[in-house]
Symmetry: C2
Subunit: 238 residues, 2 copies
């Protein structure tokens, strides 16, 4: 450790501008930082799980980034109670707000930067699920309860709606899902962003929805997905 570090532990370069954007970037503009926020967007995660969501990232660097985020008040480190006895990192309220503020950026990226998937690119369903979660209008979901499992390419994840609260996560759904969605990544992303039509993808067998029709309709409504208008209309106001 250098002498400088002894006195000034986090000497992060600042832009030196009194500008909201510049200050935001001072805080979270460094490489990997916003992806860490994304990783924690779905809920608390352990160190190694965060690392697993960021293939290629150096563990030393992750440790530093997490410390910086903690110092910045965006992330909190919490020790789980005895049975588990491990640490988790979770977003503070401020951090969660930041995560939601990323949505337009994500949508922009889905439109202009995503393109076709490259074979060597990593994919976790959790990523698009987080975007979906952020874009759901929870006001429309009072009293709704449903669980969805997504099998997109090699990745599995779930989304649960429970009394106006939406949860997403990696792996199989925690309870038996009402609906199972199977698709290839590009069909899934295309439908989610409205670039591709759901009916067409179903017809081409690139998208499959299996399970409770009512829950399928709920999902379409919640997401405002086009192309399933018929089903949505059938649903009664309740």
């Amino acid at each position: 450790m250098s002498i400088q570090n002894l006195y000034d532990e986090s000497v992060n370069r600042s832009y030196g501008q009194y500008c909201a954007l510049a200050k935001t970037l001072d805080l979270v503009g460094e490489r990997w930082t916003l992806l860490i926020v994304r990783e924690l967007g779905a809920g608390p995660k352990r160190y190694t799980d965060v690392l697993d969501g960021l293939p290629g990232m150096n563990t030393t660097l992750l440790a530093k980034r997490l410390r910086d985020l903690e110092d910045g008040g965006l992330v909190r480190r919490r020790r789980l109670p005895p049975p588990a006895a491990s640490n988790v990192y979770e977003l503070t309220n401020t951090g969660a707000e930041l995560c939601r503020a990323l949505l337009p950026l994500v949508q922009w990226g889905a439109r202009h930067a995503l393109g076709a998937r490259n074979k060597d690119e990593v994919f976790h369903v959790e990523w698009p699920l987080l975007a979906m979660q952020a874009s759901i209008d929870t006001a429309r979901l009072v009293g709704v309860e449903a669980t969805y499992e997504f099998r997109i390419d090699e990745s599995i994840g779930y989304m649960s709606i429970e009394d106006g609260r939406v949860t997403v996560g990696s792996g199989p759904a925690l309870t038996v899902p009402d609906v199972t969605i199977t698709a290839d990544v590009e069909a899934f992303v295309g439908v989610g962003t409205g670039r591709l039509d759901a009916q067409t993808m179903i017809a081409e067998e690139r998208l499959n929805l299996e399970g409770d029709p009512q829950a399928i309709a709920t999902l379409s409504t919640a997401l405002g997905v086009q192309g399933r208008r018929r089903s949505v209309r059938k649903q009664r106001r309740r």
Copy 2:
């Protein structure tokens, strides 16, 4: 120049993830890049003017960033017609969309990262004006015409509303302004973000609005600023 560069001019490190956020960051996540987008948000600028808006930035790096942005289709370089005979850089539609997608991030920063101004921090009114511009509901402005000049600390800028289109820029307004706004930075930002009350700031002589009352009311409405309710109510529906 290394051999590698001869073959692969822009070897920008990628996260290698099929994720809209990661892809966005692959494109614009490097240091300075988003601030360049901000600088161009107000309209075309010449190389040196961009540089002036980014104190501390290296000219070599700016050249590279502009090239990358051009390659990425976010920025276009254009040669001005004979009289001016210089180059300007401007956002493409894609770039402008990105700029708008930054607004929530800016608002987040204004709330959580801005704080009080440090004496050594640079400030350009153009920065908050851009945020204001992006947050204005243009639908409400049909038929409106007004020009505002802002004198905030040592920085001067303007905003023009003309038939539903809003323009902002640095320096004095291009025509005689209908209203001149004078304030210290923190009062200005505080009122703009709703953290401080306009009437109070006026009473404390930290904010001053001088000029056509009608145009003042228009501004308040356009921005949805609280605390000027009395003036707004007096205004007739027309």
